[in-house]
């Protein structure tokens, strides 16, 4: 009997090691310890990010949290952020000092939430607009920035429209830093070889894919392993078919309707031309497929420019960009999927002046010029930049963006919660993998909405 008790105790201990250790959320279990370790881990890299002097008497110390390692990164945008922080620390030496807290992208929100829960919200933190930002706006974690913007700052931005996704009840809770637009990247040489022109309509796209396939190349490289990549394509197809996401979100329409079904059928039709490993390839692998010359077309956000040119500089001149084709009889073809990185400020920061000063550094001319000329993203302010210095693809992206009649967010970031977004993504992947028919998939989404939307 004693043995049995002992063995059961042992089991509890071992199972609990899961709960208390890595997986643990059961572990929420360890909300408090988790938060502590999160803070410790996050602070550790920060310490060597900059030779931060211990906060001396008058210096106002602030933290800035970001989803990439500033020292190890090859990403040009991240490198630009590091320069901005360094510039800020140098210019305000003796007055303000900013220490970056960095994590990798996968763990970013986990660590941020742990810091928030332990009352150590970073003074300034990066966040994606959409349900992610809402998570911080609703409980009052993010501060209302409207008064600071109204003072003299807002006028420097290219238009009020850049704040659309950051505005809640007329109040702005985050400042966008740059915009990326989802476009179609293609290999000019392969198009030439196959005798294909840039497709303007759906039928032309299918025709182009057929010809490229006949010429012996893989037409499209895409990642279904990283579900949002496939879901971005599905989002474009839905929008081109005229799906009204707002009506679906408000419950006026159901997910299962003719337009979504048509879009899903087009997704299946196009999937004939994906690389054979699309089901498991990650985003990076799929993007590499384009710049390594394994496939002709990549549908991706313009943030990929930095990655493409960074990994294979020779490809820059071969890489063309076009707008996602029109579906005749469907929606306005000049609508573009856009996404921005945004900065939010903690509502409990002790040094709002320092935090705002830092945020202004991210939107000043130097930083915004860098965004366009080096990073290849669309700036958010009225800054003049040298187009000849910028990556070759940016000019095409700018053309598409400035001709856009309106922009819309990623489908998975436009739904009411992160999980709703993931559910959409997963169902799109299920359609592609032919695990579900389009009708089943959208029925399942309707059911999920019925069960989970408050």
């Amino acid at each position: 009997m004693k043995k049995k008790v002992l063995s059961i105790l042992l089991t509890v201990a071992m199972t609990a090691s899961l709960l208390a250790g890595c997986g643990s959320s059961g572990a929420a279990g360890g909300a408090a310890p988790a938060a502590d370790s999160g803070a410790a881990d996050a602070a550790a890299p920060a310490a060597d990010d900059s030779a931060a002097p211990a906060a001396s008497g008058d210096v106002q110390e602030i933290t800035w949290m970001f989803w990439d390692d500033l020292n190890a990164t090859e990403d040009l945008i991240s490198k630009g952020y590091k320069e901005t922080i360094d510039r800020f620390n140098k210019d305000y030496e003796g007055q303000y000092h900013c220490t970056p807290i960095t994590t990798n992208l996968e763990e970013y929100y986990t660590k941020l939430n742990a810091l928030v829960a332990s009352g150590e919200t970073p003074d300034v933190f990066i966040v994606s607009p959409g349900p992610n930002l809402t998570t911080y706006v609703e409980p009052g974690v993010a501060a209302d920035l409207t008064p600071y913007l109204d003072a003299d700052w807002k006028g420097t931005f290219s238009s009020d429209a850049v704040f659309a996704q950051q505005t809640y009840d007329g109040k702005i809770y985050a400042v966008p830093l740059n915009i990326a637009a989802a476009c179609v990247f293609y290999n000019k040489e392969m198009f030439k070889e196959a005798g294909v022109e840039v497709p303007k309509t759906w039928d032309e796209l299918i025709d182009a894919c057929k010809k490229i396939k006949a010429a012996g190349h893989t037409p499209i490289t895409i990642s279904a392993g990283t579900a949002w990549c496939l879901s971005m394509l599905a989002g474009y197809l839905c929008d081109r078919e005229g799906v009204d996401l707002k009506k679906i979100e408000s419950g006026e329409e159901s997910w299962n309707n003719t337009k979504t079904i048509n879009a899903a059928n087009k997704l299946i039709e196009l999937s004939e031309y994906f690389q054979p490993t699309a089901a498991g390839d990650t985003n990076d692998v799929a993007t590499a497929g384009l710049y390594n010359g394994e496939a002709a077309i990549l549908i991706q956000g313009s943030w990929a420019i930095g990655q493409i040119n960074g990994e294979n500089p020779d490809f820059e001149q071969k890489c063309g960009v076009f707008q996602f084709p029109e579906i005749p009889g469907g929606n306005d073809p000049n609508r573009v999927i856009a996404k921005s990185d945004s900065l939010a400020m903690s509502a409990t920061t002790k040094s709002p002046e320092a935090a705002i000063a830092l945020m202004k550094y991210f939107t000043d001319d130097t930083a915004q010029k860098y965004t366009a000329e080096v990073g290849g993203k669309i700036p958010v302010t009225k800054v003049e930049y040298d187009a000849s210095k910028a990556p070759a693809q940016l000019a095409d992206v700018m053309d598409i963006f400035s001709n856009a009649s309106s922009t819309f967010g990623f489908y998975n970031e436009s739904l009411f919660s992160t999980e709703a977004g993931s559910t959409f993504d997963d169902n799109m992947v299920a359609i592609y993998l032919k695990e579900k028919t389009p009708e089943q998939a959208f029925d399942d989404l309707d059911k999920w909405y019925a069960a989970n939307k408050k």
């Binding site: 089991t11 709960l19 208390a20 890595c22 572990a27 929420a28 279990g29 763990e107 409980p139 089901a279």
Partner: protein, 294 residues
């Protein structure tokens, strides 16, 4: 020593650090976690009590069904294969003189390596653009998409990962069995040989019955290990494609750390705890043995 054991104060002093540590980092979090499993909790706002809602949702959660199926598959597969492979290896290694230590170390080595690194390594080996499929292609064979083919009820990636886990952990079972076998008195074997017993028969009639208690221990360790299995799956497939390789621990991780549904994740954790207790109880009952004098 006896004197010391009679001194209650001394006992208390020695037990206290472990007791405090155990309570602080294991027992309290477990209780907390069980409480959270009855709450809606996202770490940003205070937990609100919702009764059995999380458990009711678990019943209609499709991913949970996949996770339970895969975890049970994993449990059965690793209990059976580790038992057989572990016993065979232990039996063989105790019977050879030359190179015993070498093979023991080689087979045990993967156990001490980081699962995250091994996960990445095997992911590369099974990746279609590198590794096995490239070698197969040289012989004109088109290899399957090892980590992406999800047509079957138990998808191919689960078999692949289960195989890697067997490779990684079989050393541990082997060591446990070897330790037990080397504790068996040699005179028992000598007596059996005098009576005309072959090596195989002595293994069947002497070794096996005498290591039965260790089989129960090794199996419980195995069962718990495979139920809470996380790292290889997370590193090789992240539960994909499309959640088809989710197990309980990856589902728990996703719900907790991706969607911040800590209450729901705690409910999964509680189910995991119950399953582990149940398995230990079952195994201990099945392998009920009296201890022999060895």
């Amino acid at each position: 020593m006896d004197k010391l054991l009679k001194d209650k104060k001394a006992i208390a002093v020695f037990v206290l650090p472990a007791f405090i540590l155990f309570t602080l980092i294991l027992f309290i979090p477990i209780c907390q976690s069980i409480y959270y499993s009855f709450c809606d909790y996202d770490a940003l706002t205070k937990p609100t009590f919702v009764g059995l809602k999380n458990y009711k949702n678990l019943l209609i959660d499709d991913t949970m069904k996949i996770a339970v199926k895969n975890s049970l598959f994993f449990l059965i597969y690793s209990c059976v294969t580790q038992l057989i492979m572990g016993l065979i290896l232990a039996g063989l290694l105790t019977n050879i003189e030359k190179g015993r230590n070498f093979f023991k170390n080689v087979i045990y080595l993967p156990c001490v390596l980081s699962s995250a690194a091994l996960g990445l390594l095997w992911m590369f080996i099974f990746s279609p653009k590198l590794g096995i499929n490239q070698i197969l292609a040289k012989y004109g064979i088109e290899g399957p998409l090892w980590l992406m083919d999800i047509k079957n009820y138990i998808p191919l990636p689960m078999w692949v990962i289960a195989f890697v886990a067997l490779w990684q952990y079989v050393g541990q079972s082997m060591m446990l069995y070897m330790a037990q076998i080397s504790g068996i008195n040699k005179s028992l074997y000598e007596a059996s040989y005098i009576d005309g017993c072959s090596k195989v028969k002595s293994f069947r009639y002497i070794t096996l019955p005498l290591i039965k208690p260790m089989v129960a221990t090794a199996m419980s360790l195995n069962a718990i290990g495979s139920l809470k299995f996380f790292d290889l799956i997370f590193n090789m497939t992240e539960g994909g494609p499309n959640k088809k390789t989710m197990v309980l621990a990856t589902h728990l991780y996703e719900q907790g750390f991706k969607y911040f549904k800590y209450g729901y994740a705690s409910a999964i954790g509680t189910i995991l705890l119950i399953l582990c207790l149940l398995m230990t109880f079952l195994i201990n009952n099945v392998f009920k043995t009296e201890n022999y004098e060895m």
